[in-house]
């Protein structure tokens, strides 16, 4: 089936097997391998991207369902060569170790803070339930997200 999907500002027109998951389309067709796969039951959030500005686990959608959509992946989050504040905060706060959950964590947290500036630590922990990290114990991830949330509330 023909699809036309805009990813990180670039329009891609492709013929895809109708059963192709969006995450496989991104990774295999477009070679955007920053989006990860950590489970097969939509629990882990490693595959999180933005679809028309909303948070989406890209393993839960078929590529054909994303026809006409605008998608942002971790590769497209930085603007004008500058890290997104959430990327910076993860780096500064040691919010990652192996890095495998990180793209999904950053994508989910960036959208969350955009919609919830000033979110409390409890709200952040609750929100992050959909993203699993095995390395960090979440402590520094929460710290990073809180830093951006606080800054967003202040501005």
């Amino acid at each position: 089936m023909q699809v036309a999907i805009t990813v990180n500002g670039v329009l891609h027109e492709r013929d895809v097997d109708p059963r192709t998951l969006l995450v496989h389309f991104l990774r295999e067709e477009l070679d955007l391998t920053g989006t990860k796969i950590g489970c097969d039951t939509s629990q882990c959030g490693a595959c999180t991207v933005h679809l028309d500005g909303k948070v989406l686990k890209s393993c839960t959608l078929l590529a054909v369902q994303a026809d006409g959509a605008e998608i942002t992946t971790i590769e497209g989050l930085a603007e004008n060569g500058q890290h997104h504040p959430m990327q910076t905060a993860f780096w500064e706060n040691h919010g990652l170790q192996c890095g495998y959950c990180t793209p999904g964590m950053i994508m989910a947290s960036a959208a969350f803070v955009r919609d919830n500036p000033g979110a409390s630590e409890g709200e952040i922990r609750h929100y992050l339930e959909g993203n699993i990290c095995r390395c960090t114990g979440y402590h520094n991830i929460v710290k990073a997200v809180k830093q951006v949330a606080d800054a967003a509330a202040g501005s």
């Binding site: 097997d17 059963r19 192709t20 496989h24 990774r27 295999e28 070679d31 955007l32 391998t33 920053g34 989006t35 990860k36 796969i37 950590g38 489970c39 097969d40 039951t41 629990q43 882990c44 490693a46 992946t73 971790i74 590769e75 989050l77 930085a78 890290h83 990327q87 993860f90 780096w91 500064e92 040691h94 990652l96 170790q97 192996c98 890095g99 495998y100 959950c101 990180t102 793209p103 950053i106 630590e121 409890g122 952040i124 922990r125 609750h126 992050l128 339930e129 993203n131 699993i132 990290c133 095995r134 390395c135 960090t136 114990g137 979440y138 402590h139 520094n140 991830i141 929460v142």
Partner: protein, 783 residues
Amino acid sequence: MSTRIFGSGIKRREDPRLITGEARYTDDIKLPGVLHMAVVRSPYAHANIVSIDSSAAQAMEGVVAVYTSEDIGDGLAGLPTAWLIPDSDLKTPEHPALAKGKVRYVGDGVAIVLADDRYRAQDAADAVVVEYEELPAVIDPEEAAGEGAPLIHDDVEGNIAFRWVMGDREASDAVFDAADVVVSERILQQRLLPTAMEPRSAMAQYNAATEELTLWCTSQNPHIHRFIISAVTGLNENKVRVIAPEVGGGFGSKIPCYPDEALVSWAAIKLGLPVKWTETRSENYLITIHGRDHVQHVEMAAGNDGALLGVRATVYAGMGGYLSTAAPGIPTILHGLLYVGPYTMGSVFCESIGVMTNGTPTDAYRGAGRPEATFLLERMVDNVARAIDMDPAELRRKNLIPAFEDGHEVATTLVYDSGDYPVAFEKALDMAGYGDFREQQAAARAESRYLGIGVTAYTEMCGLGPSQVAGAVGFQGGLWESATVRVTPTGKVQALIGASPHGQGSETTLAQIIADELGFPVDDIEVIHGDTTETPMGWGTYGSRTTPVTGAALAQASRKLKDKARVLAAHLMEANVDDIEYADGSFSVKGSPDQAQSIQDVALMAHLAWNMPEGMDPGFEESQFYDPPNFVYPFGTHIAIVEVDAETGVIDLQRYIAVDDCGPQINPEIVAGQIHGGVVQGIAQALCEGVIYDENGQLLTGTMQDYCMPKADMFPNFELGETVTPSPHHPVGVKGVGETGTIASTPTVYNAVLDALAPLGVQQIDMPLTSAKVWSAIQDARS
């Protein structure tokens, strides 16, 4: 005064590629024309294979080949077990890459399909028709070792793979017979799923002209993978290149060499095309090693005055359907030798029985044997406290080994390197406000609110380890590390290491060591790892050994370079070597500070070699093999405070305090991260994680939906403290810290919950302490 980068929590060098999605993990690497491998896996835990019909699969679109063990024939040798415990009557049953005639756990590979696309390979695997004759299965290790259990391997009588004894049974009997108090408990160390967030993956490419095989795979130890892949394929080791690119966590599960890595290698050689395999999470839960799985019968002897006299245990350790790479070493050497902990306890005895079962093979999972030891010890100390009606913190305080700086031998024959347990202990108690807590607890109880506190004092053995010891305990390898510090003509550093970090931040930590030793800016140092062709030999990243062992190799290689630089600088400045002073990467002559040579100047001159001192070779590069003289022994005290809702069984973890001593901290932020992560993994074992099989050996916790992975909202912010006791034998004094969190936190939280439940009469609950189990235990105690 020189400025030290050592001790500074600088940002990680690794992170720019990771936060932007630019890092390449194994499955991210693409090769043109690659075939995808899918594995047909047994749906039964124990069955004979009657027939395999792959004709329908062969005919499917995109399918290139389907192979069974018959097709492989002797093209692949069985996977070796590499830890052969001596004096244990060890049996190592054959572990073929694909099952031969019989399957022994759900997920055991039966056939492989190679196709041009991932989806098609899986479709075709589903179309392979295998007829099985189901056999009775056994999962519980104690049951599997008992009368009448189904026999899993014909050549492993009674399913007993080994029986390892530590200590003297009669001496132990004498201590226990004479003791005032003996407490006992049957402890279940449930099976756990390591769950590195990156699933395992392997891709192989073979060049028939050069006879070279390249294997990209999710490995914690590419040099060990090379060694084993060479052995099973028959290729010369110098023709095998193993590359562990970015690796997304391991926790032990990426140490072993699995059938899948062997199979992609074999198929790539056979077909002359690159072959890739990446497991799904469900597949990961079925086939990637599990951790723990002990049934322990434990006793502790004590005096009425609170003196701990001895501990002993009979351990049934489930090995699963095959003996994984390092499996026999985990419930033996890495377990029993920890039975003294930080206490002045004179008598230890352990009988550890490795039992084949129809579960997934087990092997090292973060802490590997040491969490299982620390848990039983701390559990029993709390039981003694209860039996003699002494406060558990007071009991521990009474029995802690006093401070020592350079070696302390304990009853297990280990010689601890250094420790000051009482200082860490009191610091943790202070941070927790232990004294006040007991009052709050009493007040809360009066209102039927159940608060509890758990205290764990621990020490552990890591930084594995002297190779001579490795040999003596049957480890089929050395445990040294090697490293090369190579400085380019323009004064930039490449540090090549044999170890293979996969999330620990070692590129940063190790660069800090070199920066501190040689005075190069830390940003001018690259740490290169993971490729057997580019890096010197090393045994891998596990056992909290990369900072202690590789770090030492790098420190010593750097010191050799510095010695050379000093001589060359003296020569260039026409001064006497003894008159050369060094500070912050610059050499100067005593008394004439305007005359100086930077380390970069010296490196350039060493490369140019225009003007070398007599007998000095050109170039600026040094290598070091470092074999540690002893293990390192980090230690500390962890405390948890919980509240249990007696009406629902729900546990609220309110505070978690961790005081750890890993010697001087190179990068305190990285150390803290290791502790946070380890603590969460350990707490999750106490509270929610656990593998469940049904009586037929079907894995009921086979997805992330069914297996309780710890989530962010289960935890408070952690309160960390530190003490600093350098290791006397290490060039920069550091100890490992990768596993302490997992080792200490499980008993801490478990004991806190049981402390909360004490007034309700609950004395024991098998882990994990889910609210349903806690609630039932309260009901049972009430009735």
